[in-house]
Symmetry: C2
DNA sequence: ACAGTAATGTGAAATATTTCACATTACTGT
DNA sequence: ACAGTAATGTGAAATATTTCACATTACTGT
């Protein structure tokens, strides 16, 4: 099984749509429905399912509840996920205040910062001094971290997290981090994502 | 020329690294240097360049300044880019306060919100009432927008932006938006990005 | 001056991903 | 009861992307 990041992201998107469809009372969907919703194709949808052994009903599409539970199981959404965030700046706090994680079983259990002004053990989740990161990860068996510190602090933060037992991170620092092969890093560089849009909307010169 | 989003993103990453390398006094780089820096391969780097007609010096790699200016030209970084943000919530404000855009020629000229409490025409950039979005885009010839409103408001926001003359958006709302074919949308769903990491660090069952 | 070599640049091969084409199947309607 | 059909599921084909292999070239060192 390859499970490239792309396919997994699509499976999450299918699930996302299905949950919304369920909430408005829909009971059955077709590969076509999913395709339409994501701007993809019906074949793509069925191929994705086929790759993971997810099946529907010939002629009658997919029972929404069944499909949803198959996807949830596959994607590991039946377990809760605790995460910590390194860096309680603009982005760290935006994530902290976002209310969309909880209902998907993602709990931000703490943020960490080296700026005493940012520290606030009373907030929910608490913002703790960075010195407590290592111990906290171990004690609470956290395996997923978010890196929202400036780029020059990102590698040391990652090293510390790895040492403490973290297995994968979502990294917002605009720098390519080094890690062991079995460690999973998902890099998101928001500025580059913005610049990419800018590139594609530029009037083309003589490209063909 | 295909110019898939992926390649363009890599070109931006090369540029990113080169700027940092330049700042520490490096004058020459090799495809190997770039590959190492991004966790890619030297062939990939040269192939990417080759596809866009970027050339170096056989045997002597690339002169950093030359390469940088070729990439900058190609990626359209010689022009400034003005952008607006719809939604001055957690994420909109995080972007507003981020200081890394300006030095890359990206200027957030205004945010827009329908919550009077959020509006602040004195801030820099100003947070304006949503009613002014349409007129503002037209007057200031903005062609790039960011969607940072809740998902239920995202499509109407996009429609409005398109009507006003926007050519592409970075969309944070967790929903697949409909737009004309020649309109460019870059979707970023932060929750799914986090869930993807969670998926990959799960102890595998019997996948092979 | 020139041999050795370490780099680029790029077709071709390999691999990954998407799309096509169609056999299979179960529902629907009479 | 059964013919028609509208859907799935999936090998095979097509396409896209990455990697290989190596000819070319210009620098380096003597
Ligand atoms: N905010 C954005 O819109 C945006 C856009 C693109 C990229 N990014 C990147 O995301 C990351 C976070 O951005 P931000 O805007 O939240 O930055 P920020 O400066 O607002 O916050 C960074 C936080 O990290 C803390 N910090 C610094 N060094 C630390 C250390 N060694 N240990 C612990 N904490 C430390 C700081 O005290 C601060 O609170 C940065 O790498 C930034 O380049 C952010
Ligand atoms: N903050 C995060 O970490 C995070 C994570 C994942 C996804 N998202 C997505 O990003 C988007 C923004 O998230 P956020 O956390 O900033 O949300 P938020 O609720 O903090 O901010 C949304 C803002 O949009 C404004 N708004 C609502 N309807 C509007 C309308 N019709 N016109 C103009 N303004 C309107 C609200 O007043 C608010 O200020 C949302 O779609 C959210 O689902 C955010």
């Amino acid at each position: 099984m390859k499970s490239a990041k792309q396919i997994i992201l699509r499976l999450f998107q299918y699930r996302e749509f299905l949950m919304r469809a369920k909430s408005i009372g829909i009971k059955n969907v077709y590969s076509d429905t999913l395709a339409e919703a994501l701007g993809s194709t019906a074949t793509q949808v069925r191929k994705d399912f086929s790759l993971f052994g997810i099946t529907g009903n010939k002629r009658a599409g997919y029972k929404l509840d069944d499909l949803l539970s198959q996807l949830s199981e596959l994607l590991g959404k039946n377990q809760k996920q605790k995460i910590i965030i390194a860096g309680a700046g603009n982005l760290g706090k935006a994530l902290m205040q976002y209310d969309g994680f909880k209902k998907e079983g993602i709990e931000i259990v703490a943020l960490f910062d080296n700026d005493p002004v940012k520290v606030n053990i009373e907030s929910s989740p608490p913002i703790l001094p960075i010195e407590r990161l290592f111990e906290f990860i171990g004690k609470n068996k956290i395996n997923l971290g978010v890196i929202a510190v400036p780029y020059f602090a990102a590698q040391q933060m990652l090293d510390l997290m790895i040492l403490a037992g973290i297995k994968g991170v979502l990294n917002f620092a605009p720098i390519s981090l080094k890690s062991p092969k079995d460690f999973f890093i998902n890099d998101i560089n928001l500025r580059l994502e913005l610049e990419t849009v800018a590139y594609f909307i530029k009037p083309l010169k003589q490209e063909d």
